[in-house]
Subunit: 526 residues, 2 copies
């Protein structure tokens, strides 16, 4: 396989030379616009659909993008990854998060271990353990059932599992599958842990300590706060803590934990929601069957990402459109706007997945590159955002491409009809109105009331947010980001940019700082 | 007063012509760097300090910015605003949120009403009512004390009060001032309200309905869901609801509310945290004295914003540096990164205040302008963000100026010492290390481990996050944004960009849509 920089590809040069720009207002504002909306859709799994009619592309550009994907060998690279190639060049590691949800490539044998078997074995352990907790076979010191599960982890051990839990909490309530409340402690700010601890009954709580390396500063510090509280309450640590870590970590074999679940170096933190990192807490709180459905959803969408035809490969198409927006149209930012309150932390999770994966300036071989890479990602749920930052998106000086997400049904089986429509209908009506308002704008002689339009957006629409569709949604974005990494020829799976701060912080804590580092530390009396 | 566009000012032209760019790495990486950190600080009120040593400016640029502020008459415009001038040109309204916290200008008489007296009168009502609720003089149907207060509001009626409550919740626990838990319902997504309602005891809950106009779609819809639940529980609506609205709104005199508190058209939604919009819920949950301290903090920082010397006016200086970054250096984005978990939703609040205020393309007279205006704002608390999107900030292709916030002490009186340092010390050590890592970078022959540095940041450092310092912090950013509006010559106090979506949504709900609006609506079976 040849790995070439984006600007080495002929199809990229053709894309740069292709100067026809799409005016969304013109192209969508007539009967052919309606036809375009019907046509510019791509089916995903689990009832989802990717609609890209309001993107600044046309058939010619899609063909150019298709050529780009072919010349880049995007799908072939994905297959290499699935087959266990050491795609993570910086750290010389395989990238196996897809294998946690199912097998799509060849067997991956690592050190004589079939990695799919390894992940399945951990899943069995999770199934077994979570069922015992939920049924009360495993109880606390007083033979009471546990009521709360608290994850201690940061970054990928926090954002993904937290976002997924919030996404499924109402679903769990409606289906009576939610048996334990889940909470999360992440920040080294002691007020984070203390605030959570002040709100729970520690005697009925299981803490899930998540650190792949077993050395994460924040996580170990929070573990210490939690342990102190457990002991102060005359409770046994090993009745209240389990670990998710790698087999080689210092905490892997500690007797302090009731149980240890394993991940490995081939699961990047930000891609670990579908591993034991997400699995333990989601299975304890919501049930293993919910977690399994979530994995199934992700797996089925992983399959779609194998399609060579970009019109039938939504993740790849989304990736290509993003590259077009970033490198040809010059947009710096992407907003992720889910019209589902349950997805309130999904944008924060994607912020990590995307920005940590593709916020790079060197290619996978360590050579500097001369084109833009990953955008800034932000977002809040609609309709909340409409009453907040949408003003700038509509009338500001910076164009921000948008990824809308919405569902036909809400999660609870309840709603209220007011003035002839339910809340859910109002929510969806707002979503589609925003797509159209951004694209078409609206002319007004009063400049202050004029909307220029031509603001691009895509839309993922689904039946309802449930474990399966959530899995598919997550897979879509993970794979989109992976494909963009291939296109930019960067390594999306390391994160050297987080190291320098750690080194300096250590200096400060060891009183080894000098110069402005020392001077800034003085501001905090350190 | 002359209101001129930014590009009409001579001092702006001088700024454009001044081509000396600051290399932070060079300027900070020696003894003079240490001196610079000492010198580039500006005292704020309530123990806060604004540190701008790691910004790409020097004395020459500060002088040019000072001239810009003088030529723009920035402080004089602020005084006009304080004196009740109709600064909000689009809606022909005064802008009086400062007056909610104290009087700094002349008496503002509107329709024979002294507006300061009006706000003070509402404060008295809030004091009186909240004390009765907290002490149990006002009880529920069964003579039980209320335990929960739920705000129903969206946008400015949600983000600010919610962020402020989260910021003070731990403080309230520590000081035993937190008597009622506060929750918030905002989204028209029915799952938002249903999820909150499934977690509370409605019989012991007071709902605060907040809508200035009394017509906000989301808020009235959520009110209906809540009322239905109240009635289903055989409870009386007027034992469980109060309203915050304007005197002229359709809900102002309804007998359905136990009490009504008033705001007026001169308090913009996003600037309403220090009005009854924030006051009712914060006073009920945390006590009126806490809310009063919060107002005092904001008021004292409002005073600092009157200083003509930009070196002694942190909000104005911050505004000018932001304009320099946006219009001269071309940065599109600003990250707000508080190293305090209690400020977890403060960036989301600022996202509204900033982007809704200054995301405009016309000046205050409705003429199109040819320079960039408000940036995109996003942020999450550190150290969480370090394990998420900081990768891009350090090594990505887009430079994102940062506003750091941190405090010497945490909110709880508790902490844990590990390896010779407390969690709070670790938190602060991380903060200062990030400032330095971004500014100085670190050279490495391995490009993948190379940090270019020259990433600018400012820092607000305080003793601790309490009601007073929170008020000062809020005032700082509100006034920064106001000054930027003056500099860009835009009206920061209207939001016409939110209207088009509402109009289209109404069409969809009334089955009046056509063209692509109809086609998109079909995707959701509407």
């Amino acid at each position: 396989m040849e790995w070439k920089n984006l600007d080495e590809l002929n199809s990229y040069k053709l894309l740069i030379d292709y100067k026809n720009r799409i005016n969304l207002k013109n192209i969508l504002n007539n009967e052919s616009g309606v036809h375009r909306v019907k046509k510019y859709q791509s089916d995903m799994s689990c009832g989802l659909k990717y609609v890209y009619a309001a993107k600044e592309i046309d058939n010619n550009i899609i063909d150019l993008l298709s050529n780009l994907a072919i010349e880049n060998n995007s799908v072939a690279k994905y297959k290499l990854l699935l087959n266990g190639e050491f795609i993570n060049t910086g750290e010389n590691r395989r990238v196996l998060h897809h294998l946690c949800r199912g097998q799509l490539g060849e067997d991956v044998i690592d050190n004589n271990i079939n990695m799919r078997e390894f992940y399945k074995n951990e899943l069995d352990k999770i199934k077994n353990f979570s069922e015992k907790i939920r049924s009360g076979i495993i109880c606390n010191e007083k033979n009471e059932k546990y009521t709360t599960v608290v994850q201690i982890g940061i970054g990928g051990s926090d954002l993904g599992p937290r976002a997924m839990y919030i996404a499924l909490e109402n679903y769990g309530k409606k289906t009576n599958k939610l048996k334990l409340d889940a909470k999360f402690i992440s920040n080294v700010d002691p007020d984070d842990a203390l605030s959570i601890l002040s709100n729970i009954d520690i005697s009925k709580t299981i803490f899930v300590l998540v650190s792949k390396s077993g050395t994460t500063l924040e996580t170990l510090t929070n573990e210490a706060i939690v342990k102190e509280k457990i002991i102060k309450n005359n409770l046994q640590v090993n009745k209240h803590m389990v670990a998710v870590t790698s087999k080689t970590s210092p905490i892997a074999n500690s007797s302090e934990y009731m149980e240890a679940f394993f991940i490995d170096d081939y699961i990047g933190g930000r891609y670990s929601s579908t591993s034991a990192v997400g699995g333990v807490i989601l299975s304890i709180a919501l049930g293993f069957d919910v977690f399994e459905e979530f994995l199934d959803g992700a797996h089925s969408e992983d399959k779609n990402s194998l399609n060579e035809d970009i019109r039938k490969n939504p993740a790849l198409l989304d990736a290509l459109i993003g590259v077009y927006e970033r490198n040809i149209l010059g947009y710096e930012i992407t907003a992720v706007l889910p019209y589902s309150n349950a997805l309130s932390r999904f944008p924060a999770h994607l912020q990590q997945v995307d920005m940590e994966s593709n916020g790079k300036s060197v290619n996978r071989f360590g050579d500097k590159i001369n084109y833009k890479t990953g955008p800034i990602i932000f977002g809040e749920p609609g309709t909340n955002g409409q009453h907040s930052f949408y003003q700038l998106l509509h009338q500001g000086k910076t164009i921000v491409p948008i990824q809308f997400i919405g569902f036909k049904k809400n999660q609870f089986d309840e709603d209220v009809e007011i003035k002839g429509s339910s809340s859910q209908t109002k929510l969806c009506a707002n979503l589609v109105s925003q797509v159209v308002a951004f694209a078409l704008g609206s002319e007004n002689k009063d400049n202050n009331k004029n909307f220029e339009g031509n603001r691009p957006s895509s839309l993922i629409v689904g039946e309802e947010l449930n474990p399966k569709s959530l899995g598919a949604l997550l897979s879509h974005f993970e794979n989109k980001i992976m494909f963009q990494g291939f296109l930019w020829n960067i390594n999306s799976f390391d994160q050297e940019g987080v190291q320098l701060g750690k080194v300096l912080a250590k200096k400060v804590l060891e009183k080894q700082s000098s110069g402005i580092l020392e001077e800034y530390a003085k501001l905090f009396n350190i």
